[in-house]
């Protein structure tokens, strides 16, 4: 395996004085799909936000391609090639699908037509609805808009916070398939998921987090096969 593209190393921090992250770490290499699972309140989303500079860290380091990017603002991280898709409120409801994608490429200069084409090719249902307001779309289609928006700058690292939350099994499978496809194209993906079994099935590697610490780590298949992980974190 190549050197990790994104590294979160021994992070400690949270909101206000409350440390949600208690020294947890996660890394992902280019083209690798890394899944973070764990019970509610384990700090999964906080870890992801910390990688995107949205959490004040008291200790630890975030590195992008070996370079220390701890404490940089989100605008700078986007410019350096990190894309982030929040769990909720991840589209601009009053903007059209096309305008949402355009906002994803806000910091880009030059010809974007090829970028739009490749996002529409990845998510064909969006192409037909490009003039429609994103707020009028179904949950699954919104998730596609949100992911497509984050892909407009061809990020090196894509951070996804529970992209299948609230979706039907059919849409879940479709989203997971797209995530795997984006990973195969060379993007490093860090995916936080409640639907742990389905997510680990497409994962190259996975982390199990509990109370802000790393509990288990291994390939997706190994974690799925581990009886202790299954009993404690995957609902038996």
């Amino acid at each position: 395996m190549s050197t990790p593209l994104i590294q979160a190393l021994a992070l400690r921090g949270g909101y206000g004085g409350n440390d949600i992250l208690q020294g947890c770490s996660a890394t992902a290499a280019a083209g690798e799909v890394v899944v973070i699972v764990g019970p509610n309140g384990a700090g999964k989303s906080t870890l992801l936000k910390a990688m995107f500079g949205m959490i004040e860290l008291r200790e630890g380091q975030v590195r992008l391609a070996g370079e220390d990017v701890t404490g940089l603002g989100t605008t700078e991280l986007v410019r350096r090639g990190i894309g982030f898709v929040p769990q909720e409120r991840n589209v601009f409801p009053s903007l059209s699908v096309h305008e949402n994608l355009e906002m994803g490429s806000f910091t880009a200069r030059g010809d974007l037509i090829r970028r739009f084409e490749s996002v529409y090719a990845l998510f064909p249902p969006l192409a037909a609805k490009r003039r429609q307001a994103a707020g009028e779309l179904s949950g699954g289609q919104r998730q596609m808009v949100a992911m497509g928006r984050a892909l407009m700058l061809t990020p090196r690292v894509l951070l996804l916070d529970e992209p299948t939350a609230g979706l039907s099994p059919l849409f879940r499978a479709e989203i997971f398939a797209k995530v795997a496809e984006i990973g195969r194209a060379g993007t490093a993906i860090v995916l936080v998921e409640q639907n742990a079994r389905e997510a680990l099935a497409i994962a190259d590697r996975g982390y199990v987090l509990a109370t802000g610490r790393n509990r288990f780590e291994g390939t997706g298949a190994a974690l799925l096969a581990d009886p202790e992980v299954a009993a404690s974190f995957l609902g038996g």
Binding site: F52, T74, T75, L77, V78, R79, F84, P86, R89, N90, V91, F92, P93, S94, L95, E99, E102, M103, G104, F106, T107, R149, L153
Partner: protein
């Protein structure tokens, strides 16, 4: 009174007044959408624009309408400066702090205007303007034609900006969700500065148009705040297109409330005209607080 007389004496002046309110209300609505606070110094920014135009009229010998772009640019620059000095330090504070700060800015602006330009009413142009007849039917003063034309041009420009430019779309995106806008890498501070520039330019236009309509006075803008806020809320706060509709309606309602519609008697004596906006505002908040176009946060 015949229909034409009614149109010429009440509907046309109502539309002129309403279009002035509309320009002010677009700015209030845009600022609210981005910064989430009611900007109480908006009227005084408008007054400032009116007096900047007056200075251009005096010094450069321009017509008021020719001085309009200068006044808009000047007010935009001053608003960016005011933001840097008085609003930016409170960016993360509760919105009531910003509302109070804007009250302070309103007082500062009004006092500065009185110190610089005096406390009297001033006209851009002396003498009487004769109204002109259009199709031998509609009677309208030339200055009212300029105001209506100017407002129409501004509304089209605002629409093109919001719908078709990168920055305009970023403003709408930020109005939808500031946190997500930041996650997209949008420079939200730049968007805020631009919103101030546009909001202040629109306020200045409203001030110049109000000055062209009657005269300019240090309290011209402040006196317009009630109908302008009423128009913004009537249209749906945070919705610039709603503000246009709200402004036109507010102007028409104010004029028609004093028209002799009921067998020669009017609904209200003209002295109560300024209370109409207040009544409309209260009625909207009671009946449909989100306004016509479903505004935000109410």
């Amino acid at each position: 009174m015949d229909v034409l007389g009614f149109v010429n004496l009440y509907v046309i002046p109502g539309l002129v007044l309403g279009s002035i309110y509309a320009v002010g209300a677009i700015g209030v609505s845009l600022l609210f959408g981005i910064l989430r606070f009611a900007h109480f110094a908006h009227g005084d920014l408008g007054t400032l624009g009116g007096f900047l135009a007056l200075t251009a009229v005096w010094v450069l010998g321009l017509q008021a309408i020719e001085a309009l772009p200068l006044a808009m640019a000047g007010a935009a620059g001053i608003a960016i400066l005011l933001d840097r000095l008085f609003y930016k330090p409170f960016r993360k504070a509760p919105s009531i702090v910003l509302v109070m700060a804007s009250f302070g800015v309103a007082l500062i602006l009004r006092s500065a205007i009185q110190l610089i330009w005096g406390a009297e009413s001033v006209s851009y142009q002396s003498g009487i303007q004769r109204p002109i007849w259009i199709l031998d039917t509609f009677r309208i003063a030339p200055r009212h034609l300029w105001i209506l034309g100017g407002v129409a041009a501004i509304v089209v420009a605002v629409h093109v900006f919001l719908a078709h430019t990168r920055l305009g779309k970023a403003m709408r995106a930020m109005s939808d969700d500031p946190a997500l806008a930041r996650a997209c890498g949008i420079d939200t501070e730049a968007v805020i500065r631009f919103t101030w520039a546009i909001g202040a330019a629109l306020a200045a236009a409203a001030g110049v148009f109000a000055g062209m309509d009657v005269h300019i006075h240090p309290s011209t803008g402040w006196d317009m705040m009630l109908p302008v806020f009423g128009a913004a809320i009537l249209g749906g706060i945070g919705r610039p297109y709603g503000a246009i509709a709200g402004g036109l309606l507010m102007g028409l309602i104010e004029e028609l409330a004093t028209a002799p519609l009921f067998f020669g008697a009017s609904l209200l004596p003209p002295a109560y005209k300024s209370g109409v906006a207040f009544a409309v505002l209260v009625a909207v908040l009671l009946v449909r607080p989100t306004g016509i176009f479903r505004g935000k946060l109410f």
